[in-house]
Amino acid sequence: MARTTYKVLKGRGFTFWSIMTLHALVILIGLGATYYMEHNGHIVTGMNNRIVWGMPHVFAIFLIIAASGALNVASISSVFNKLAYKSFARLSGLLALALLVGGLAVLVLDLGRPDRLIVAMTKYNFKSIFAWNIYLYIGFMVIVAGYLFVQMSRGTEHLTKPMGIVAFAWRLILTTGTGSIFGFLVARDFYDTAIMAPLFIATSFLFGLAFTILVLSFTCFTIRNQLMTREVMQKFRDLLIIFIVVVLYFTAVHHLNNIYITQHHGVEKFLLLDSPVYSTLFWGGQIILGSILPLLILTNKSLGSNRSAMTLASIMILIGGLAQIYVIVIGGQAYPLEIFPGWDEISSSYGDGQIANYMPSLPEILLGVTGISLAMFITGFVLTILPFLPEPISDE
């Protein structure tokens, strides 16, 4: 049996450096946008007292979900002993770490008082799922770093499986926690539901694999044909199809459940039918672009395992995924709180009873995009210094 060796990314040509420079520029611009927001206050953003979490949070949650899912490939190999994926385990771990760092950076930089990060790290209210998430995120980073370490250092390969199991369990708890951030909110009709946690877990599988395929396609130009063999592509294709279907399932159950409950008719009608923004994003973004079109591509006999087709499908999935998170995070806030059931016309200076308006501002969008660039920059950078790329397995 061939033993996989790993190497550092060597083929660093013009394309690689230009992509890295682009990411670095985006990060700098994003940091500038952050300074602008922090110095002038959130008045310069589109967020307000009704829509308190905006584009930065959409991107942050998107990245955090993708991070936990990106570890999936590694988990399949270490936990479920599928050797075909073993060679991608290190890259998968790195991607998970990088995406999480990118997501957390966006989240922290959007705080009203990011200078109080030390307070957030030292004072904990353990009844808060948010506080638990902070522990889960940091623990995830430590565990994945440890998982990567035991794979790299000699004499510790036998620890790979136990570390892999711990990492897998941890990431399931982490994503459950991320979903519960919304699921535990009794205040809003769209959130107060246990299905948020499994919905986010299913979504994490999908986003994680899509990101992994994208990174493999774009990073390793010189060796990708050897790296992404037909066999591997077919396996990834099968997984993607399953994950898309599972996400569609949980989304359907969430909405159908709400449609059955008369109390929630208002928010469902708003999100699925009435809203020019959220309905379009849901049907056009998540369903058509993010689920149906990729399914059509992936189930096509000739296109299915083609690397370019899969890359295109992955991009569509991720854009649809952004739309999905946007509808959940912002659509859920836009619908007014039901404080006075039984009364029809409600008005106040706060906008009670009215749909809240939200127009993302440029600094917010820049900050969100910076998260993605940060994740990709870290991935690219670490690949050049640590041996994470598998040497193509030669047939013997």
Binding site: N48, R113, S128, F130, G351
Partner: protein, 280 residues
């Protein structure tokens, strides 16, 4: 006592007679009205009324305002034996009246900058209409000071907390401005400060990047005074707001709640709010 009798014996001294309300005090010359009624009887009536009013005035104050809070010694901590609450009678809240909102904003230093989306609103007037029955109502809405506050549950640093006497507050020293409490509040009671502030009231510190909400005028309560909204509504408007100790069965508010039906907003959430409403 003699002060009152002397004062009531004289008129205002303005030419043109009785309709004066100028408020000038004791005058030495007599008014033409004096000849219509014997001075002693008029004086006696005024004095008797004064005496009666002085006797029942504190009672009137108590009844109308729900009883002022007792001032607590400076070094004494808030007591868990007390639970501060408010009772709002929506039928006494007038359409279009926003006196409680103005009082709160003047007292605590938040302003209407003409941008209602981002301006802080500790209290707001809500108008309701039922299309089927035609009924309408107005009422003020502020932090409900729940016994089981969702905002306290979700705050990652514990900045959102409930004081021993039931007032839900934000400890701005610890608030990191994550706005999760604003997501969690079922009443939309919290505001985030979106811009740098200057010249805050020294009894109500507030700053950019932190979250705030109605404090039940905790600085006034600790001094034994009433919240600004309650005081203003009683003095200048319909007297819809009553404040007091919900744990004291003899307080005016407890007696009123025991006698007349009142509800919590979103009572299905079982948060046991400290603010209750009647007649909506």
């Amino acid at each position: 006592m003699s002060d009152f009798i002397k004062g009531s014996g004289d008129g205002c001294g303005k030419e043109g007679g009785c309709g004066c309300s100028s408020g000038s005090a004791v005058n030495s010359h007599t008014d033409h009205r004096e000849t219509d009624m014997p001075q002693t009887r008029r004086g006696f009536m005024k004095a008797a009324t004064a005496l009666a009013m002085i006797t029942i005035a504190p009672g009137i104050t108590l009844f109308a305002t729900g009883g002022p809070a007792k001032a607590r010694p400076l070094d004494e901590a808030a007591s868990p034996k007390i639970r501060w609450g408010m009772l709002i009678d929506a039928s006494k809240c007038d359409d279009g009246c926003t006196k409680c909102v103005s009082a709160c904003s003047k007292e605590n230093g938040w302003k209407d900058n003409g941008r209602p989306d981002t301006d802080a609103q500790w209290i707001r007037a809500v108008t309701l209409k039922n299309r089927k029955t035609g009924a309408t109502a107005t009422l003020p809405l502020m932090c409900q000071h729940c016994e089981e506050p969702p905002c306290v549950d979700v705050c990652p640093t514990g900045a959102s907390f409930k004081r021993a006497d039931g007032i839900v507050l934000v400890n701005k020293h610890t608030c990191i401005g994550c706005r999760y409490c604003m997501m969690a509040c079922p009443y939309g009671a919290r505001s985030f400060i979106h811009e740098p502030l200057e010249d805050q009231k020294d009894h109500a510190p507030r700053g950019k990047g932190t979250v705030e909400s109605c404090t039940l005028c905790v600085h006034r309560i600790d001094e034994g005074r009433l919240p600004a909204c309650v005081e203003t509504c009683n003095a200048e408007a319909g007297g819809a707001l009553m404040f007091g100790d919900l744990n004291d069965p003899n307080s005016e508010i407890s007696k009123r709640i025991a006698t007349y039906a009142s509800i919590e907003l979103r009572s299905g959430l079982q948060l046991n709010t400290g603010v209750r409403y009647q007649n909506i």
